[in-house]
């Protein structure tokens, strides 16, 4: 079955892509560039890096810009998925949804209207186990956004490793923080993964942070041999 992946460049959509590629044929990426930083549906920091990630994966990418207004962004998503179906003859969509019934329901409805399968291979999986799976598969993932107390700019740009997972789980116990950022507490950017033919080398970045909110913005990056 030929599938397209809803791809934000973060850990969840990239891991979902890897699981899908083990079972079916992933033929394209679909990325929504939202101008609304508070988007209900779409991960935002470093979304521009997805073009480099697509190149690293050797996959074509369909991108669509949305203003990010609550329901309009869903019709923009539907247009992008319909375009992927036309151009790449996909039969289904893969998402990195883990817990959000809001997101899952809306993508399911779009797929149903378009006659496509919808797969959510991370759905309801234990969040700590998902982070550990990234390490087992040798993903290189950095934290590119923090949006909740007690996270702050010290977390930005940090690579996810065993110690960082332990700290996140500790914060879950103390503050109810979702360790994988399901509530939008954390956003991530994948710099390397098993299916990347090359890895991403960050050449220049800026940190924009205030209190418990901040982003690690990649200003310049390139692909280098692994």
């Amino acid at each position: 079955m030929q599938l397209g992946v809803l791809f934000s460049g973060g850990k969840d959509s990239t891991l979902a892509l890897h699981l899908a590629a083990e079972k079916e044929e992933v033929v394209c990426l679909i990325t929504i560039l939202s101008k609304n930083k508070e988007s209900y549906m779409f991960h935002t920091p470093n979304i521009d890096i997805t073009a480099l990630q697509a190149e690293a994966l050797g996959l074509p990418q369909i991108t669509k810009t949305t203003k990010g207004e609550k329901e309009k962004e869903l019709s923009d998503l539907e247009d992008a998925i319909a375009e992927a179906a036309r151009k790449f003859q996909i039969e289904g969509i893969v998402t990195g949804a883990v817990e959000s019934a809001y997101q899952a329901e809306r993508v399911q409805r779009i797929c149903n209207r378009l006659g496509l399968w919808c797969f959510n291979p991370l759905w309801k999986h234990d969040q700590k186990a998902l982070l550990e799976e990234l390490l087992r598969k040798q993903f290189k993932v950095i934290i590119s956004g923090v949006f909740a107390y007690p996270l702050d700019e010290k977390w930005l740009g940090k690579q996810i490793d065993t110690q960082l997972i332990d700290r996140l789980v500790d914060l879950q116990q103390k503050y109810g923080l979702s360790p994988s950022g399901e509530g939008g507490e954390i956003e991530t950017t994948v710099l390397d993964a098993p299916l990347f033919k090359k890895k991403i080398d960050v050449l220049d970045y800026s940190i924009e942070a205030k209190g418990n909110s901040g982003v690690f913005r990649i200003k310049q990056a390139r692909l280098v041999s692994k």
């Binding site: 899908a20 019934a101 329901e105 797929c111 399968w117 759905w123 309801k124």
Partner: protein, 186 residues
């Protein structure tokens, strides 16, 4: 031992992660589990297990609905069986219920119609189905949504069906089913 039957259209499918693993995660907190694809369930599996859970599937996956003949054991077993979504629809097919088109996606209000040992009152649950069953003389209707029958129980056998996906927002219902086995079947 709980036998969890993978109802996805093929063995080792991409749907396994989404529709089978979350059930295993919940069930494993109470008992050991073995997972078998529906085309590979044997009499030995059925004799080894204490109860059976049939998983749901992707919205477009209706493979089992055209193959009720692959489930002769559903009519023969005395073990408690819970069918989730496509699992419930398949139970319906096996027992001669009629399936009708009925689309529900997302959080859905469920209303209890009959006092029972698993749940009570009104609650919300995650739906993902394009068919539902019509009522039948062999089954009691325990709960409904605004659109259709959501929970059924065979009048004699310990066979249950939930059209919504309890593994998403109502894991306690799966746990209740597993623990119910230790008591007399209602």
């Amino acid at each position: 031992m709980i036998l969890i039957v993978d109802m996805n259209w093929k063995r080792d499918s991409l749907g396994f992660y989404e529709f089978v693993l979350p059930i295993v995660t919940i069930a494993e907190t109470l008992d050991n589990c073995m997972v078998k694809h529906y085309l590979e369930v044997t009499n030995e599996d059925l004799s080894r297990c204490d109860r059976v859970i049939l998983s749901g599937t992707a919205l477009k996956d209706t493979a089992t609905l055209s193959q009720p003949q692959k489930f002769p054991w559903l009519k023969e077993t005395e073990k408690p069986v819970l069918g989730i979504c496509a699992g419930m629809e398949t139970i319906g097919m096996v027992f001669g219920m009629r399936l009708i088109k009925c689309l529900e996606i997302g959080m859905t209000q469920i209303n209890t119609l009959k006092k029972n040992p698993l749940f009570s009152g009104e609650f919300k649950a995650y739906s993902l189905h394009s068919y539902c069953v019509e009522s039948s003389a062999d089954f009691e209707v325990w709960a409904k949504s605004a659109k259709c029958i959501q929970i059924i129980k065979h009048k004699i056998k310990p066979i249950y069906g939930m059209l919504f996906h309890p593994e998403v927002r109502n894991p306690e219902l799966i746990k209740c089913f597993i623990q119910l086995n230790n008591k007399a079947s209602p």
